[in-house]
Amino acid sequence: MSALAAGRTRGPALGLAGVVVAVLALAAVIALPAYGIPRLTLNLAADVCFFGIACTGINLLLGYGGMLSLGSAGFVGTSAYTVALTTTHWHWPLLPAILAGIALSLVLAAVVGLILVRLSQHYFAVAYLGLATAFAGLITAYPTATGGTSGLTTLRDLNLGFATVDTNFGWYVVALVCVAIAVAVFQWAVAGRRGRIFKLVRADALVASVLGVHTFRTRLGLFVLSAFFPALAGALLFPFEGLITPDTVGSVESVQLVALVIIGGVGYSYGGFVGALIILWIQALVDTAGNYSLLVYGVVFLLCAFYLRAGVGGAIKQGVETLVGRVRAGSHDPDLRVVSEEPRTPAPRSAVDESSTGPPRDEIAPVMAKLSEHGEHRARAGLEVSGARRHFGGVVAVDDVSLTLKPGTITALIGSNGAGKSTLVNIISGVERLDHGSITLAAQDISTMPPAERTRMGIARTFQVPRLVEELSVLDNVMLGREAGEASVWWRSRKREREHAVTALRRLHSAGLSHLQNRQVRTLGTGERKFVELVRALDEEPAVCLLDEPAVGLSLEEIEHLQGWIERLRAAGAAVLVIDHNLDFVQRLADFVYVMDVGRIVRSGPPEELLGTREARGSLLDPARGPA
């Protein structure tokens, strides 16, 4: 039951022995009720399965969407009550009733999600909590239909048409089948590209939309999918328990489901099940009369929330990984090198491998040549900004700015802090609105185009402070550059992913960063991050490249390396804009320089003229000189 969701740094691959062990472990866990452990009956085990399924939805939404589901019981209830009402009042057979229950929950999720998903974290959490409470309230408000607080009852059997399930063992089997379905759906939802995109949207919605992801649709889709799990659990809960009451599906239940996930481990497909097993079993053991159960619950919950950040499931997984690592290390002759792992090069002094003075020309050429494959409008695409103006209240950040980025040139934009340079770049990439003026790319007006569209047209940018997804590896981050905007998040092709990975690896290698490919971004320093972000931008094969202070925080060697990269970008025909404060760097690199101050372009001209002498640099902002 290895739950290495894609996007996690690749752990040790399991050999045949590993698979056998995993299968045996799984079988041992499934057979738990047979060991005669007190209170761990088939009934409890089936309960654990159903609760675990409901929790998996919370797990998915929290682990991959960063959204806290404090109201999932509302969907359990929708589904359960639909099954209850259709079978009790309208005498539907069970199977269609179950399907109807799930379908209705999904529809409700879509409708409610339209509003809920837009809310920021706090409002989302509480509005969702309100949903569950509201649902319970609605149920009690119409007792004639729903049985009010006493609820509805039925016989505990599952009439599937071809078979009837009414024994504990039979129910356990049904529960396990549903668990398999739930886990399969979870794994599908977070596989490869999907998991990466969800994590990107969660970590940085701005960058996600710049890279081409429809963030709202993605989050809404995730929300609706996450509602599938409680719906499935709820649909089967009614015939399983034989009873449904508003209490089972209210706010307290929802919160308890979250507790189960926290205890079990967020982000692991089996997290909900581990948590459910622990808590349900302890509760059964301690005191079913209720006096102690809430207390025990609270204590275990808090302990896990505090000390087991990855939950019990995460702790188990880490334990297993350590064990596997030790076993593998122990089984090798210490004199032999471990050839199956990456050769460990000593960490270089600077971010990039000093052995490479820049990407070898023959490596870079085929990669860069792709720029011209993407149609005429990308190669030879020049960018024109005309009369751009943007104000925030009374402050005019960009005031009547016009500039041109010609293909195959490097244009520099310099100026003091607060001059409006970053705002201008934001306007060009579409993150900021344009109040007045226009932007054209290859003679097409893109002034009102959303950032994702502009990225697809060939505009790429980096940020002053690198915006990467901390928890993903360098390789994953770079791959996102290309794959994020390719298609809807639900589409995935393993072949394309492999191709992307190969391309990304090659680019990382030519940037001298391949030794970092599996490192989590959160472990990198500033210089390394800047280069990773640059490689990600280049993975999009841009026609226009906007670099916001790329040299800040880099050492001298790294700046040289950066310069080499930017020059090769120019050689390949891209139009590059560089913002920086390092005037020597700018003078070496730029073909044309714009000087910005208080929102306006005050000077422009070739670098030798503006930056060639100390006197010239000193009077850059001199009003007497006037615009060139």
């Binding site: 960063g66 959204m67 974290q121 409470t133 009690t140 408000a141 307290v252 308890q256």
Partner: protein
């Protein structure tokens, strides 16, 4: 007319409770950026302790003092022991932690008093004020008055005192505030203590009318949070207004339609509040700058 007036009177009383809890949540948020979903438990702890002590024969003033003190101490300990070392955690995780503490508090109370509903005598007894057939008790008037006064005092506090500004600064940027000489930890302790005080006072004034039990915390917190959400989590004045509005809306629905529909209404209102704040430019998806 009588029904309407009675509804409004009862709603104003309810609204005062929501306001006190809501303002408490605002206080905690203002100083720590944490959404304290355990705020309702201060109400529960205070009410339960006071009721228990009265039941053992202690005079009301002593029990009341003890109850309020317990709420304050509990709140301060909560900040000090539970939250302080975890301030760098993700907001979602911290909400979960506060919920966990709420559950724990409920569990302890459940163990101590079981499912009993407890109460004690009001501070102000006497004849109810009757207007056009609708009645409001002296205690109720005291509650409304206290709520408005406290909220007004807090507004002045945040706007005009150095301490109030310091508290706000600490939430925005604890490190820089520290460099400027503000003891961030002490500020947070103070604000959580004040929130505990509010919970305690609301219990003192309201339990005589509605009773208390081990599980009254979370539903109250939900209503208080709705009020705080309307106030964008930072404005005591708006929290008061929102709480009153919510309570009156709930009351009207309860009186004229169906009491069980009250909560669906709260839910609907929350959504509207959320949608209202949608348009408030979430630039850069919450990050300070691109």
């Amino acid at each position: 007319m009588t029904l309407l007036l009675q509804t409004i009177f009862s709603s104003l009383v309810n609204g005062s409770v929501y306001a006190l809890i809501g303002v408490g949540i605002v206080l905690c948020y203002r100083s720590s950026r944490i959404v304290n979903l355990a705020q309702g438990e201060t109400y529960m702890v205070s009410g339960v302790l006071t009721a228990k002590m009265v039941g053992w024969g202690d005079p009301l003033w002593l029990s009341a003092l003890a109850g309020v003190a317990a709420a304050i101490v509990g709140s301060v300990l909560f900040e000090r022991l539970v939250l302080r070392s975890r301030l760098d955690w993700d907001p979602s995780r911290l909400i979960i932690v506060t919920v966990g503490v709420a559950i724990l508090a409920e569990g302890i109370a459940d163990r101590l008093i079981g499912g009993d509903e407890l109460s004690f005598l009001p501070i102000l007894t006497g004849n109810s004020l009757i207007v056009d057939g609708a009645a409001i008790s002296p205690q109720g008037l005291l509650l409304i008055g206290t709520t408005v006064t406290i909220t007004g005092a807090l507004i002045l506090f945040f706007r005009s005192t150095l301490l109030g500004h310091a508290m706000t600064a600490v939430a925005e940027n604890p490190r820089v505030s520290g460099l400027l000489g503000i003891n961030a930890g002490r500020m947070r302790m103070l604000s959580f203590g004040m929130a505990g005080l509010l919970g305690g006072i609301s219990a003192l004034l309201v339990v005589p009318e509605s009773g208390t039990g081990y599980n009254v915390g979370l539903p109250l917190t939900l209503n208080g949070f709705a009020a705080a959400a309307f106030a964008n989590m930072v404005s005591p004045a708006r929290a008061l207004g929102a709480a009153m509005f919510l309570a009156i809306a709930e009351g009207l629905v309860g009186s004229y339609l169906n009491t069980s529909l009250e909560t669906p209404l709260v839910f609907g209102v929350l959504l509207i509040a959320g949608v209202m704040y949608l348009g408030r430019g979430q630039r850069f998806a919450g990050a300070a700058r691109a």
